[in-house]
């Protein structure tokens, strides 16, 4: 297994680079004349589909967001940024935003830590039957989110739920998981964690296997123990893979929809709890557009705000990564200087 992270990260720049190179050797004006178009032709299906389903829909959604537009009644009038102004003043939207980011943190952070630890364990050569465990990790990932949500809904059920039964067994009061804001976020985050930890583990495992063994051997000679090797070699070298996994997770979690929808039992669950305890942005978007009062324009404004939030969140993750990079550069420079100094002294 090679590192899929690198492949994914470099795919686009790599592709464009290659076209550049191929179109360059225009020596004779012979049959090669028509060839420069070929690469564009080959990659065009993606761009055509992306233009229709990506660019056009984004633009159209933005246009809808500038109108007073009822899903049933159709377009009413151009209102400019009114929908966005209303959004700023909408307590439910802000509640949904806080919920979304809270669930994001509760799912991404434990998930990454767990995945790193699991990847380290799975990489151990003493582990028997590694393939069994590796494929086992993917089972939650290929399970339908609906099935997961229904199982978790009954695990966290108030009266007959397994988790409350355990809590009672330990002598505590059973918890009404749906009623509390934090408790509902923990319940929903646990579904996400269960589903995606294995996927991230495999990404990390692939990246770990790409780390040259000589690093570990050198560290062992220097007397580094297992924990030190993990924190000083594995984790720093996995940073690109972690960055990739975190960005994917953040973008995915900002669009959390099915889990909170199905966690809220019964009809009318699009409100995300009786006090919007676990209403997420996407759930709010859906309920505004497809339920009374069918505010299509307003929900388009929510969609565009969500796009901006996703971009900001991704930028934030990359920014943090750049900080790490800079710190690493600095320590490397200092290290080199120190080595040079030591050499001089020795001389």
């Amino acid at each position: 297994m090679t590192a899929p992270t690198k492949v994914a990260a470099e795919l686009t720049p790599d592709g464009t680079e290659r076209q550049g190179r191929k179109s360059r050797p225009k020596l004779g004006r012979g049959p090669a004349h028509e060839e420069p178009w070929a690469p564009y032709l080959f990659i065009s299906p993606f761009f055509i589909l992306f233009a229709i389903f990506g660019v056009f829909t984004l633009g159209y959604t933005f246009w809808v967001s500038l109108h007073d537009w009822s899903l049933l009644g159709g377009m009413d009038s151009f209102t400019g940024i009114d929908n966005y102004v209303r959004l700023l003043d909408d307590p439910r939207f802000w509640k949904a935003t806080v919920n979304t980011f809270s669930i994001l943190l509760l799912s991404t952070v434990p998930q990454m830590i767990m995945a790193l630890i699991l990847a380290e364990i799975l990489n151990d050569r003493l582990l028997k039957g590694p393939h069994l465990f590796r494929s086992g990790l993917l089972v939650p990932n290929i399970t339908s989110v609906v099935a997961i949500a229904i199982v978790f809904q009954s695990l966290f059920a108030r009266q007959n739920g397994l988790i409350n039964a355990i809590i009672q067994l330990l002598g505590f009061e059973p918890l009404n998981w749906h009623a509390g804001r934090l408790s509902s976020h923990i319940a929903i985050a646990s579904m996400v964690n269960w589903q995606f930890t294995g996927f991230n583990t495999l990404i990390f495992l692939a990246a770990i296997q790409a780390i040259p063994l000589s690093y570990y051997e050198a560290a062992m000679i220097d007397g580094a123990n297992r924990f030190q090797r993990f924190t000083r070699i594995t984790v720093p070298l996995l940073r690109p893979a972690i960055l990739f996994a975190v960005v994917l997770s953040v973008i995915g979690q900002l669009q959390l929809f099915a889990q909170p929808l199905l966690f809220g039992a019964g009809a009318g669950s699009t409100s995300g709890g009786n006090d919007n305890q676990y209403l997420t942005i996407l759930l709010y978007l859906y309920s505004q557009a497809f339920q009374q009062p069918f505010r299509f324009g307003y929900s388009a404004a929510i969609a565009w705000t969500l796009v901006l939030m996703s971009a900001l969140a991704a930028a934030l993750v990359f920014g943090v990564n750049a900080l790490f990079d800079r710190r690493e550069d600095r320590s490397e420079r200092e290290h080199r200087k120190a080595m040079a100094r030591r050499r001089e002294v020795a001389r």
């Binding site: 829909t57 899903l71 959390l256």
Partner: protein, 436 residues
Amino acid sequence: MRSPTRIVAAFLALAVILAACGSDADDTAGTDDGDNGTDTEASGDPVTLNLWTFGNFGYDELIEEYQDDNPNITIETLSQEFDAHHDALITSLAAGTGGPDIAAAEVAFIGAFTNQADSFLNLLDYGAADIQDDYLDWKWDQATTLDGSATIGLPTDVGGMAICYRMDLFEEAGLPTDRDEVSALWENSWEDYIDVGIQYREATGRAFIDNEGLLYDAVVNQSPDTYYNSDGEYIFEQSEQVAYAWQIVTSAIEAEIDAKTPAWSAEWNAGMNNGDFAVLTCPAWMRGYIEDQAPDTFGDWDVATVPEGGGNWGGSHLVIPAQSEHPQEAYDFMAWILAPEQQLRVFEGTGNFPSTPELYDSPQMREFTSEFLNNAPLGEIYSDNALDVVAQNIGENYNLINQEIGEALNRVSDGLETPDEAWETAMANINRELGL
């Protein structure tokens, strides 16, 4: 996890595909316009009608028969789940294309659709007034605009309202088990109903009702004045019936007779089996649901009448979106399948209760009982109940208002807010959502 843009894209793609499919039919339909149904039959131009329903409407056999009698008509049915069906229908209405020729619209949506009558065929133009007397007045009015100028749907079934109760649990609590005696316990008022609940709880230590939301729905829908008055103005804040239902439900919560199992949840289904609650608000179609979810309770349930008279929960209409290419053929089929004779056959097949009162006196209905529900005379109970229902202006945003109030009651039940706080929050939320 899908991005919003991708969802929109998927719908657009669907719309494009369906539009492409639709345009073929366009050409053949052009010549039919203006012809009435019988002429088309004579000329024999093949016509395909798309029928969208949800759940189980029990039409399969009838459709076969209609196609045999009208060889030029082909009916393609698509039955989805409740939410998926209405989402798809609304999306096709919004797109102006890609919709069915005939669609089912549940009572939760009919108010919004009637307020958007332009998107549907006005059935009065096709002679629907001639068959108006076949149907329950209040049901007919649900799909008719306030000024009476347009009727967009013909009634399918009605829910009606009754109370299903567990005889075994009633007996355990020392309560009467005979259905007439049970009905008499609470016949006069919902307060008596709650008193029975308190007696039950004191005797058994268990909850009486399943959840506060369904109790609220049962009470509030007994009056014509709930959220809108007959002129279409909002009256939810002043409505006496809303206040009454609120008071009944909050007192039920205070009396601790509420099992707090949300409707349609796994806990609710489990509760039907293991006796977490002793009563259930029971429209006609609920029988099938109990049979599916709690088959082991065979013979344990019986049916009593609802306090304070009539009531309705659920039931649908069939509507024809204005974009249909074959309105006349669609109407002809719809009028046939919803005629009393056909409704009786649907009732016998699925238990969906007819919306045509002339059947209520028929022996088939009068004598209809259910073994599962201890041979309760369902035909009689629901017929009498359906005739008691009063017409109600459902209104464009019925669902929104009803849901906000339901959630407020749920907050009271969860102990998050006091009844007064919950009411204030609910009113503030509704007013903000409606932009009042």
